[in-house]
């Protein structure tokens, strides 16, 4: 298949969610995973060389064309999206779920020291977290984990791609100043 790169590019243009290599393979049938991977790498390199309006990102286990961050203001004028704007408290709660998953509400509240019910509901409504089921302990608490939408929102390939939080050195440290 000579035009494999073009075919994949056309798929990427139309797809609504990140395309996995497996998905591409199911569509193209003939070429192997390695060939598809090479084509994707080449496409990405081409976009980087061209430095146009978009790039190819690897996210949530797949590949997706997205706009370059530099042009965010222009896109916002076009789409007028609802701002993502997660509060500090919401981000902390989300971080705890992301790093500790699967986890239950009492464990999250233990770390943050405050009630998280409202925040959990909000994160759930925004599809950033999902419910895995209930833990078989007294009270049968709900077990939470993050979603694919979470990976897509925070530009993560998978959960292993989560940034490593900074180790705590001293509290007068400049890096900790940024936490407030």
């Amino acid at each position: 298949m000579e035009d494999i790169k073009n075919i994949i590019e056309s798929l990427l243009l139309v797809t609504e969610e990140p395309l996995t290599i497996d998905r591409i393979k199911n569509i193209l049938i003939e070429p192997g995973r390695k060939e598809i991977q090479t084509a994707l790498t080449e496409l990405s390199a081409e976009y980087e060389a061209r430095k146009g309006g978009f790039l190819l990102r690897e996210v949530a286990g797949g590949y997706q064309i997205c706009t370059r961050p530099e042009y965010r203001e222009w896109i916002k004028r076009l789409l007028q999206p609802k701002p993502l704007r997660l509060s500090k408290a919401a981000l902390e709660t989300l971080a705890i779920i992301a790093y500790k998953q699967p986890t239950i509400r009492s464990d999250i509240e233990h770390i943050r020291g405050v009630n998280c019910g409202g925040i959990l509901r909000m994160l759930f409504e925004r599809k950033l977290i999902r419910i895995l089921g209930r833990k078989e302990i007294p009270g049968r608490p709900i077990i939470y984990a993050t979603t694919k939408q979470f990976l897509e929102t925070f530009d993560l390939k998978d959960l292993k791609d989560l940034p490593t939080p900074e180790e705590i050195a001293t509290l007068g440290d400049a890096s900790l100043e940024n936490l407030e």
Partner: protein, 236 residues
Amino acid sequence: MQEDIYKVQIDDIFEGPMDLLVHLIKKHEVDIYDIPIALITKQYLEYIEWMKIMNIDIAGDFIVMASTLTKVKSRMLLPSHDEDDDEDPRLELVKPIEEYLLMKSAAEKLATRILLGEDTFVRNPRPENHLMDHEGEIIKVGLFELIDAFQKILENISPHERVDITADRISVRDKIAQIVDIFETRGSTTFNELFPENAEQSEVIVTFLAILEMVRLSLVRILQNTRTGIIRLFYL
């Protein structure tokens, strides 16, 4: 000390006891592994007093932390008689603070990433947006419609198929996890798809219970197309 309290502004209202504790530790630039417990406890209690004066409802969590601080402080004062038990009482505080700071730092890191819908954009009409387009044709399904549909599925199971007690039976919880996996890849599924034709009666029942539980947890929205009668489940 009095003027310290005066300087406090509205945005200094702490979200929780950990927040307040970390603020105090930071303000005094002390090492979290060597907290001057008397000073921090004193200031913590002063803040709580101040919050009371300002008529801010103090959650029980703040009081719990105050008592922990006081406890640690008193344990620091007591001489240790047991040689083996000379663990620093402040460890009780250090561990949670460390963990909290780690998660705060993680949250900060997440916030600086290239955010979808904020910094970068994709071609992305999400399935739930499509859902709205069909609003006129689709109705929400009530419990009775669901039970009717379930009865049809039960009728289709061959009567010879009996529940095998010895077989590995799947729990409702596992089933929910399975269904969630389907949703994670596809976003929606029809009711009938969840019941394979050759399924055992026990599995069919577990699947149905799983669906009901998922509705209760508001994990799914169940809608029926008025023309085709097909019932679809949408992941929320």
